[in-house]
Symmetry: C2
């Protein structure tokens, strides 16, 4: 079972920012074609807490001083770090989400912004249902669902078909934008993620030809990324985290565009204004922006003191027409 020399804790950061209306994450490209998140092992002698360890690694690798940071999940599965071979220590990876405003383009260390939807292209519904779903994913998932659940050791009592319905909105069900992780994991389990092939998963043998379904990542980093997207999409609706992605002053439409970029779908403009304004999340700065091409838009700033008020609402709101 390979030389087992102990446990290592890996700290991984999905550092999210929005540029040109597109959500981006900070990745390091190491030349072997597999992008990676900023990553480093937890060293308890140097790092008083996990968070501090993460911040240190990110500072070291990207020159960035993180602000908003949130722990996501700890993954300990065997077999998700196949590149390392069987010899190293077992790696337990702790995923983090960080949100930044500034554009780290100038940062050292070879880290750069990459489009988030490049890794999970089926998650962007802003221009309607992504073609990759209809053309590539759905037909293959249907074939997968038609197979018996032999090698499934899933503890849920759901059939593959039911899981497709829930995760991928297959039989008339609604698309749940928050199920990002469940979708990625299902694709991995079905052998349709490149990482599954790398890790030597059995299900891959079923496919004669594997399309590239989103850019893969090193280790289990795409899983961390999917977890980050799930969490952020959910949290948006009940905590005012979105402002961690915005500059000090912004128009309401800029705010809306950023929310849409994260959620991956369009919102109803007038209702969005109403919601944000009478949730008391923002206050006008008094200035206007004339960059809009029409009537100048009032500039707003985030009211930091809402963090002191009770169940600070965040930006809920269901989808609107395209």
């Amino acid at each position: 079972m390979g030389g087992q020399s102990g446990i290592e804790i890996g700290l991984n950061a999905a550092i999210v920012g929005v540029r040109d209306g597109q959500p981006h994450i900070l990745v390091t490209r190491e030349g072997n074609g597999w992008d990676a998140l900023p990553y480093g092992p937890f060293a308890p002698l140097d790092h008083r807490t996990l968070d501090i360890g993460l911040r240190n690694w990110v500072r070291e690798q990207t020159g960035l001083e993180l602000g908003y940071v949130e722990q996501l999940y700890t993954f300990g599965d065997r077999g998700r770090h196949a590149q390392r071979g069987d010899t190293g220590p077992h790696i337990v990876s702790v995923g983090y989400l960080a949100l930044i405003t500034e554009d780290p383009a100038a940062g050292p260390g070879g880290a750069s912004f990459a489009r988030w939807f490049g890794y999970l292209p089926w998650e962007d519904w802003r221009h309607g249902k992504p073609a990759i779903l209809t053309d590539e994913i759905e037909p293959r998932l249907k074939r997968w669902a038609a197979r018996p659940d032999q090698d499934d050791t899933h503890d849920l009592v759901l059939t593959r078909r039911e899981r497709l319905r829930i995760c991928f909105a297959m039989e008339g069900a609604d698309w749940d934008e928050e199920k990002v992780l469940e979708r990625y994991e299902l694709l991995y389990e079905a052998g349709l993620a490149a990482e599954a092939k790398r890790d030597g998963r059995e299900a891959v043998k079923f496919w004669d030809k594997l399309p590239q379904l989103g850019r893969p990542m090193q280790f289990d980093h795409r899983r961390v990324l999917a977890t980050a997207m799930s969490r952020l999409r959910g949290k948006l609706k009940y905590r005012p985290v979105i402002f961690e992605l915005l500059p000090d002053s912004f128009t309401l439409f800029e705010l809306q565009k950023i929310v849409e970029a994260i959620l991956g779908h369009h919102l109803h403009k007038q209702n969005f204004r109403r919601l944000v304004e009478n949730a008391g999340l923002v206050e006008p700065t008094g200035d206007v922006s004339r960059q809009t091409g029409g009537r100048p838009a009032k500039l707003f700033r985030f009211r930091r003191d809402v963090l002191l008020e009770r169940p600070s609402t965040g930006v809920r709101m269901k989808g609107g027409p395209g």
Copy 2:
């Protein structure tokens, strides 16, 4: 800095059940007066995933086969495991929440049910504001807030007074039932939790006499417990997890009592019925229960298939009159 021999990952389970209208957790009492959660180190050679490791430890220590299990958070702080001394490996602890229906009284291994509110007594508002808040906690926290924030290395820019307002509803603010962890951590930081004294925290010196504010626990287990309560109280409102605590059939009032036990406050009965019923979460079994002392109550069962429907609502609902 003590002999550092590596990292160990501890798996801790807050196993919750409701008995006689009181939420309980499974604890092991080891005789030294410090209760502990079922606990064991993650052994990657034996456990394919963290979850499996946790289930194994719980089975071994309590004879219980867990159903619903959910990972909570991973804590890596130095200095929260003081009993172990400085010599052992650094311990990173992964907390889990598990929900059970059956009463594990007969289980082997010395584990037993203990009242959840015995550890966090300020969280039970079902009979009005707990006296321990007014009599013990609030006056001391006010004294603590009056001190300068010298040794605070908190990354938030909130003053102690603002934090009290938010966490403990001090200056007319509302009590947020979900801030269980924040409250416990604040008490720890203020030196008011017995664990803070055990861990040699500086703030403890400020107090001449420390009252027992809830029963303490071994290691950072009370923190895990507080995290579990936070998570469960939050999740209740948007996922139908509550049914993991209920028998197969139940009356709506029994359901309500269990929700109230978890949330720690009363709900409006008629509205609760309406909500649960037209969320489609339950269906009548056809039988009735005559145990109620009045008109017999219809028995219901959880509609397992709502898990297949979209954003399965759970049991939201704000508080009602006492």
